[in-house]
Symmetry: C2
Subunit: 458 residues, 2 copies
Amino acid sequence: MDSLTPDGLVSALRAGDDAVLARLDRLHPGKLAELLQPLSTEDCWQVMGALDVHDRARVAHFLDEEQLADLLKVVPVEDGQSLVAAMDFDDIADVIVELGEARAELLLSELDEEDRQDVRALTEWPDDSVGSRMSSGYGWLRPGLTVEQAFMYLRKHAEEAELLAEVPVLSQWRLVGWVRLVDLFSAPLQDKVSDWMKDPPATVQADADQEVGARLVARYDLAALPVVDADGDLVGILTHDDVVDILRQEQQEDLEKLMGIGGDHETDAYLSTPVFTHFRNRVGWVVGLGLLGFVSGSVLQSYESLLQNLVILALYMPMLTDAGGNTGSQSATMMVRALSWGEVKPVAKDLGRALWMEFRVSLLLAVVLGLLAMGRVFVLSGDRPIPRGLTLPNIGLAISVALMIQVVSATLIGVVLPWMAARLRLDPAVVASPALTTMVDISGLFIYFGTVKAILGV
Amino acid sequence: MDSLTPDGLVSALRAGDDAVLARLDRLHPGKLAELLQPLSTEDCWQVMGALDVHDRARVAHFLDEEQLADLLKVVPVEDGQSLVAAMDFDDIADVIVELGEARAELLLSELDEEDRQDVRALTEWPDDSVGSRMSSGYGWLRPGLTVEQAFMYLRKHAEEAELLAEVPVLSQWRLVGWVRLVDLFSAPLQDKVSDWMKDPPATVQADADQEVGARLVARYDLAALPVVDADGDLVGILTHDDVVDILRQEQQEDLEKLMGIGGDHETDAYLSTPVFTHFRNRVGWVVGLGLLGFVSGSVLQSYESLLQNLVILALYMPMLTDAGGNTGSQSATMMVRALSWGEVKPVAKDLGRALWMEFRVSLLLAVVLGLLAMGRVFVLSGDRPIPRGLTLPNIGLAISVALMIQVVSATLIGVVLPWMAARLRLDPAVVASPALTTMVDISGLFIYFGTVKAILGV
């Protein structure tokens, strides 16, 4: 069986090729959405028109928001209304903000008043909240139903459900339990739902940060996490597929923040983001650090005469700053991760434990790097004239000791800064690696010249 | 209702407190496993003994492997056997490698021969393969069943299933379709399973890298991905909860690799990893870069007399190396992400697109940083004596131009290196940020002194 191509699909449909139609019907909606991606709005709609409305809605879920919005702007109003009526509320909410208000109103007008309000409510959650990600299409049960009744009830309401794997149990709208479908399948038909439900392992409020919800899903291996309002009433579920997206976005965000890249950290948008946006996302830190560099410049300037007399010091400066930047970024990275997943908490005790551990790690690194530096001074500078009153071993010792102090202090700074950020309820990743590097550069210059002066007496 | 504590739980059970027993029964197994974590093996088993064997197996899934292994080493053989018999095969496979061979054999001996072989087979997949993560407990259907028969069949086999959300449809063992449970619930009872199944959007081979599987699940919003052997026979499913774990581990790995940290990138193990292991994970890159630093030392040394005459150049060296390291790490980070999620492919065309974009971004950054550097020279060095034959504007211009070239070249190097790694089928993240920084330091020194010599004619 040859594989389908976007153009082949369109021409086969135009020619009324039944075999292709049959294959279309078996295609996973995510797969079909990929085929539709390069097509014009018109061709795209032609293909979607060959599907029943539920499959069409599932394909819509996988389309880019822009492509879906373009489609909804031009399709006949009735087709648009029926498509919207079949879509999950969270998918509708995502796309209507891209449509004009008039068009959005028109497409929503066939929904009943309550549903329309639910969709509108979904659009109002802030971008990174659980509310903006949650689904309102879920099956649910009452605790007093028998297992047999539960199956009948679910059959009646399955069409509105996005996922049936773990099912909320509600009394009024209050969440009173959580039952795995696997358990219902293995339960005797005359048992009550309440015999098989458990307490949900956790709930999350709709206005919480999406990462909080994602971490709970990860922690308890859930297919869906119940989202509740302040009264404990169920308002939605956060499903595993959204959690995967959130974790990806967070991963992108952590990495980019660590490298001093701002912006909204969208995934899969590297090549499609305009040049000027990339520039704007990066220029902040780069310029900020450049300004901070004034400080290192001034520090260096105050040692200008020392440098003049002992040019050898300038030769080993990059080694010192690089080693500090590298080791500090390493400990900072470990801390950022441990803090953001809650392994290390922003309390004094955990800071103490991390500092004590990193102190020992950095001491080992410092000894290795110190010996390396000593060797380097002898190899590279062995044949050079040494200023009066100094010896090569002395200079080597001074440089090595400075390097060792720098490695230990940079590592500890890398522990403290993310911890402080977390303590101030900031994202620990704001302590970007470039910022840390620049800071330990500055402290490193003081350490370098201070140590050299102390040991060499110059 | 007061919240349960580990010690409270044990003493309530010893006292035979029925209210606590009832609550235990409603507790999510992941929640209960958290309560058990600080308890002694004996207390832990006492609590688990109060559960039925299926709940016990689900709690076992959430325990640390070490804690579970300790438990299985000391419990009465019959209890251990019944617990193992109720556990998912992948959970068994994870824990038996921690037990001695004799104990493992004993605990597995009550399984039938085929199951025992399946469990043993699971232990043999390499650590990062899909096979090592997949579940073999899934419900499945035959295409010719009616929907009504399908439900009856699933009810009979639900106890072995870890997840029912998307159900594989098999003919012999060959995977012929994929049906969402939601669709079966909404289907007329007399329809055939084959009327509602679709082609699975993707399959993955058991020996593929776990990340390949995780990305497919993310791409198609799956609850489970079918894992097949070379013949297309189904051998397991990769479920959403494992995917979440894989993505977390990968996130950790990407970050740590980018910072030049080696090791096995375990999650939630920062504080529990021994100091010496941390040292070993970091020392490789740090020493390697220290050695590479010999090169930058030699380069600097060859310009020693120039530095001696023009100490002002030493003052602006950190600014140049920092700016190069920062901008290069930024473009490298973006490329690593785009390559690892397939947005940018390791083909010449995509390299060209990325280079052209980054060239323009870096040009904008270079102009801003160049102006900043110019200002800095005037502000910081305005009152300093200038060597004969040179002027401050000249020196400022030379430093600024060198910085601009450095920013553009470092950015482009940051694009090329990860692309080359991907082209060589390596993980793009091996181009660790410290390595990149050290490399652009070296190229930066050539750019710096070369430009200064050309412009100032010294």
